[in-house]
């Protein structure tokens, strides 16, 4: 039987009756919600879901919000929810799903992602972190990962490592779940141009991973990682944004509240960016409507390009708009924020942080290649590394 909205409302009502949110410990409530299949309704029964259509999650969320129930603070555990979970669901063994998904969803266990390396950024498949099989069947991992958010908070990591250097780069990668409490894992904050350290470097020295924590087949890690990366892009789109949501909001407010800062030059530039931000918002809304109507377009590939450029240009203009204040910065103190807010803090921070928007999650240059090749069908870049064993690649 397929689950419909009235049935979900009934089940949510049952959960709320059995575990009144205002009288129940937050974690206990979340566990009860998971066990009732109301965590992510499109997941299978027994794993926090009911096998219902994904769109019906909104029904449950609305009922729970109205009842004042706690949520699982999705922003804090975004990598687990958005990247690790779908990959475990698709490639994990039954034991792995049972072990990992519940503490992941309720937020007891934070996840991080050990993919990028100093020598493997845009060319992620060239990664050099080595996983060598022991005689007992387990793995020993050595290497260095970088740009890892939440590594200092994480209990687990999704990790890709090279298990066969003698085959071409894509073929010799295996996907693992790495225990971040292993003594061989060292996490160092990576201070960035904003002054804070939102990310980390992670050094892996003789880290032991049991074979039971391998996701997918040996050598199939690149394919498994595609599921992770695809879900990263899905979770970036999909939200309805109000007019002046995002980076254009603060500068518009400042413009209205501080007439003494206005000049004709700034006015022309602000209006131009306001229009572009509104058009980008409409493009995002159009993409969302396409997804809801079941006609996914290619527009998603372009949205990140637009938002990266606009965030940078708008925040840059905002620094100028502030005049003498634009010469100041709120605080260079080295900190390790738990949450990242691109529109948070002051204009100077926004300006510096947004520089990362055209690098993180795929550089704008690589995204333009993807649009040119996959959307427009233009010839692919020459691939001189396609048939070369990883160990023979230039680096």
């Amino acid at each position: 039987m397929t689950i419909d909205a009235p049935e979900l409302r009934r089940l949510t009502g049952e959960l709320l009756t059995a575990h009144p949110p205002l009288e129940t410990d937050r974690l206990d409530f979340l566990k009860a919600r998971f066990d009732a299949g109301l965590a992510w309704v499109h997941y299978p029964e027994g794993l926090g879901g009911l096998g219902a259509p994904r769109a019906l999650q909104a029904v449950v969320d609305a009922e729970l919000e109205a009842a004042g129930a706690p949520d699982n603070d999705p922003r804090r555990i975004g990598i687990g929810l958005g990247m690790a979970a779908p990959t475990i669901l698709k490639y994990g063994t039954e034991e792995q799903k049972q072990q990992f998904l519940r503490p992941l969803w309720v937020g007891e266990e934070v996840w991080c992602q050990l993919f990028s390396e100093p020598g493997a950024g845009s060319d992620l498949a060239a990664l050099g972190t080595r996983a060598v099989r022991e005689s007992g069947g387990g793995w020993i991992v050595n290497g260095q990962k970088v740009w890892t958010s939440s590594a200092h908070l994480a209990r687990w990591a999704i990790l890709i490592a090279r298990t066969d250097p003698d085959v071409p780069k894509h073929a010799g990668i295996t996907y693992f779940v790495c225990d971040m409490t292993d003594p061989g894992v060292e996490v160092r904050p990576l201070r960035q141009i904003t002054g804070e350290a939102e990310f980390n470097e992670v050094f892996l020295t003789d880290v032991r991973i049991p074979d039971a924590h391998r996701l997918g087949e040996v050598g199939d890690g690149w394919r498994v990682a595609q599921t992770t990366l695809m879900n990263e892009r899905v979770s970036i789109g999909g939200m309805r944004i109000p007019r002046e949501g995002g980076m254009i909001g603060p500068i518009s407010q400042t413009w209205r509240e501080r007439p003494e800062l206005r000049t004709h030059d700034l006015h022309q530039r602000l209006l131009k960016l306001w229009v572009e931000a509104e058009v980008a918002r409409l493009s995002g809304e159009r993409l969302r409507q396409q997804l809801v109507a079941g006609q996914p377009g290619h527009e998603g590939s372009g949205m990140k390009l637009s938002f990266a450029r606009l965030n940078q240009e708008i925040s840059g203009l905002e620094v100028e708009l502030r005049g003498e204040e634009g010469l100041l910065y709120d605080d260079w103190t080295m900190r390790r924020p738990e949450l990242v807010d691109f529109t948070g803090r002051d204009a100077g921070y926004r300006y510096l942080r947004s520089k990362g928007n055209s690098i993180e999650g795929g550089t704008s240059e690589v995204l333009l290649n993807i649009v040119a090749e996959r959307v427009l069908g233009l010839p692919a870049e020459p691939r001189t590394d396609k048939d070369v064993a990883w160990k023979d690649l230039a680096r």
Binding site: S252, V275, L305, L368, L376, P379
Partner: protein, 357 residues
């Protein structure tokens, strides 16, 4: 919430219009026509209007039209833009029709809706909604003066003319002198219209009629600009996959791939802005902002796309024989039509409370 997609019916409409234009509006004959005595393709107009009823989309059925909406008109304009079709659709079936709807001029409305007659609003193509425009003098009950920059006047049977007394007058084309102006856009030529004691019939107040007409014209022009940009991008991509230099397709060079990908991003963004304007004209919700946003954005995209088409086609793009120049001329002229992007940005400054210093 605004519906930014195309319905199945809208896609079906697009398909029949595109088929017709593929068969009857090929680039070579459009180029040949530009220097003939008949720059407008009235036989194509007859097929669109008479045959398919497209001239009456905005007119209620009770008044002899199709009772459709701006959303369908936008789809037609996308296709006409893709073909740079030399027909007075935007001027007669949108702008003049909107003015007549505002005035409640039933008899003439039905004639325009059927496509049997072509009407043109005698306001310069460069005038933005709400901006000042010229009017003609009234002397002894007849009209005197000269108006310039009137798009498609050469094809018009009837003109809607603002008078200095604030009225809007219907004037038969036979009662005035229409002199073609050598126009940048060969496929939407302008003309000077001279009034020397022409008889006019007052049908209402000019101000609200002109404002409504130009707002609809501006908002739906964005869909035409989308069509121009879409064709130029598609054609440029197609050409660069075929064209070989240095023993490889030119479209494989990353410098060009990135430019085309960037252009694609602009075109999909314009699609959202144009659909938003068409939908807002249909629902009447947030229309001024939606139209101004679309017009503040569309011109740069259409012009950029057409300019890239000329550049990336190399030498062939510079020839009279290749149609790229028709699109460049249309895109550049469209960037002035119904107000420049800058004019629409200034309108937004008031509409969204981001005021000048």
């Amino acid at each position: 919430m605004t519906d930014l997609l195309y319905s199945e019916e809208e896609e079906a409409l697009r398909a029949v219009v595109r088929d017709l234009l593929t068969d009857h509006c090929d680039a070579a004959s459009v180029i040949a026509r530009t220097e003939s005595d008949a720059p407008h393709d009235l036989s194509l107009w007859k097929s669109l209007a008479d045959g398919m009823g497209l001239a009456g989309l905005l007119v209620p059925e009770a008044q002899g039209g199709q009772g459709a909406t701006h959303r369908e008109v936008a789809v037609v304009l996308e296709e006409l833009g893709r073909a740079v079709a030399p027909v007075p659709y935007l001027t007669s079936a949108v702008v003049a029709t909107e003015a007549l709807l505002e005035c409640g001029a039933g008899d003439l409305l039905a004639e325009l809706a059927s496509g049997r007659r072509i009407g043109v609003l005698a306001v310069s193509l460069s005038v933005a909604p709400g901006a000042a425009h010229k009017a003609v003098r009234l002397e002894n009950g007849t009209l005197h003066g000269e108006l310039t920059g009137i798009a498609d006047a050469a094809a018009a049977d009837v003109l809607l003319v603002p008078g200095e007394d604030g009225g809007l007058y219907v004037v038969e084309a036979g009662a005035v002198t229409v002199v073609p102006q050598v126009s940048l856009d060969l496929t939407r030529p302008l003309a000077r219209v001279m009034f020397d004691g022409a008889a006019g019939r007052r049908i209402g107040d000019a101000a609200p009629a002109v404002r409504r007409a130009l707002r609809a014209g501006a908002g739906l022009l964005a869909s035409e600009q989308l069509g121009v940009a879409d064709w130029t991008l598609t054609e440029t991509v197609r050409y660069l996959k075929e064209r070989k230099q240095f023993n490889r397709p030119v479209g494989g060079f990353q410098a060009l791939k990135h430019r085309l990908a960037q252009l694609w991003l602009e075109v999909v963004s314009l699609r959202a802005a144009a659909r938003n304007a068409a939908d807002a004209l249909t629902t009447g919700d947030d229309t001024d902002v939606a139209v101004a946003v679309a017009q503040a954005y569309a011109a740069s995209v259409a012009v950029h796309a057409a300019e890239e088409a000329v550049q990336l086609h190399g030498g062939i793009g510079m020839t009279w024989e290749h149609p790229a120049h028709l699109y460049l001329k249309r895109a550049k002229a469209d960037s002035l039509a119904y107000g420049t992007a800058g004019t629409h940005r200034e309108a937004l400054a008031e509409l969204v409370d981001l005021r000048a210093p």
